[in-house]
Amino acid sequence: MKLKVLSEAAREKIEAQFPKYPDKRSVCLAALRIAQEELGHVSEPAMIDIAELLELTPVQVYEVATFYTLYNLKPIGKFLIQVCKTLSCALVGAESVISHLENTLGIAIGETTKDGLFTLKVVECLAACGSGPMMQINDRYYEQLTPEKIETILGDLKREGQSKLATGPFMLPVLQG
């Protein structure tokens, strides 16, 4: 069986998930994640590949890909910024974080910067309600945001691809000493 868009490495990663479950269909979420890590987003040809590997119909994969918010169905920037707007963050300034990002990046919610670096999304609660306002960029959280912190984070990401301001193992209130 020849895959349309997924690499052999992706196939191996997906097949390595099979022993964890009595049913291959259970691998669907992980397979979509693996496809997205490889391709940047989940295209329809990728869904067809996954359906082949999992012995499903394409629509069984499509319905999953379109239900969960973390699958990008279209290409996005190198860094996906997701700002939480739910109540606890909204109470402590989520709206100003969103405006600040829109102004700094020169894009509106849902758009990607021209250089392809940043995509801005506004999302619902990310379980960081005591340390808002906050955002997730790719696989890390950034919390207790201020305009200065946001500038530093964006600068770090542009230069080094990561930022030391990302939250490590979470603890609030922070332990003294």
Binding site: V64, L70, L91, A127, C129, R140, P169, M171
Partner: protein, 433 residues
Amino acid sequence: MAKYEPILLKNMLQPGYRGLLEEYRAVGGYTAFEKVLKEISPAEVIEIVKKSGLRGRGGAGFPTGLKWSFIPKDYPGPRYLCCNADESEPGTFKDRQLIERDPHQMLEGIGIACHAIGSHQAYIYIRGEFDLGAEIIQRALNEAYAAKYFGKNIFGTGFDLEVVLHRGAGAYICGEETALLESIEGKRGKPRTKPPFPAIHGLYQEPTVVNNVETLANLPYIINRGADWYAAIGTPKSTGTRVFCVGGHVKRPGNYEVPMGISLREMIYDIAGGIRGDKQLKAVIPGGASAPFLKPEHLDTPMDFEAIKEVGSMLGSGGVTVMDESVCIVWAATNLMEFFHHESCGKCTPCREGSAWILQILRRIEGGLGRPEDIDQLIMLCGRIEGKTVCAFGEAEVGPILSTIKHFREEYEQHIREKHCPFRPNAKLVMAH
């Protein structure tokens, strides 16, 4: 300020503790798991947990031992334990800390629970956004497997247990236990009609128990220190400690573990330092976004399942969201309705369509275009959602609306009468989705 002895946060409050296996073992880690496998029968473990009074920490507060006892005793096929680490209830951030700072106490709890229900396969369902949490759990699992706490013939007792980390992909509803099962099965996370309950037909249609992270993390301590010790903490019906997450307009937001039954006042003003800028308290949500709003007059309510229910709200997930006098209640209700509308899975018509309709009316009122009949319209719509959906999401989404109308009706009326928001005259609503 009263000092309370933490149980679940105790290790991580020691400076330098990172939650590695060797550290957890140095404070008695995995001795409870060994003890139950070698000395205590599954039926006895269930009795101990029943006697401890432990109730589910995910939101519903269902007695844990009782939940386990619904698993058929002589069922010949496989049975499953699922750890619910899909922490998504707005206002709640305790499981994240329990996972990232001391993952082994949850893993040991999984072992104890599996022994109790006779399960040899457990899944940890963690929300997709918790990348760091997933890395930390996987690291802890690798350590535990290497030490032979999981796998084949654990402690030489012949007991086998496989534990698999399953990552979600962004959907609040997957915290609902049957939606969680659907999601592990690789499907859309849509809640199932109950009955049958998961204890009879759960994951892959086999008997299944779903327990929250914090619930499971309590088990090693209940085994080692005894049901009577645990039952003596808190109140007679709401035993033990609870990790409350305090956020919003408080001076010291954070996770605080206290015995159940301390007052909301002590939690907000003593433990969390009071209101920022010393403003007046206007409203508080005591148990995550699904819990109805309370007012300052409720401050002396004990934070236990029964007392909070008695004043018309629920203890839920333990997420305490505090709002000061500057907050527009209609705006807050609208914000939460945006959340619920976005997260409605779409299975049940009343919830899917009703959430959109309620949100439209709330936005209209907040934006100064409300009509006098809108408030009754909202109450009518809530009545047509509540109790008419497959899962508890329906009750959850109407809570913030009905409670804000009940406690702050005048504020809704003022918006409609004055044709603008009195608190945010120029503010635009965040239209997120």
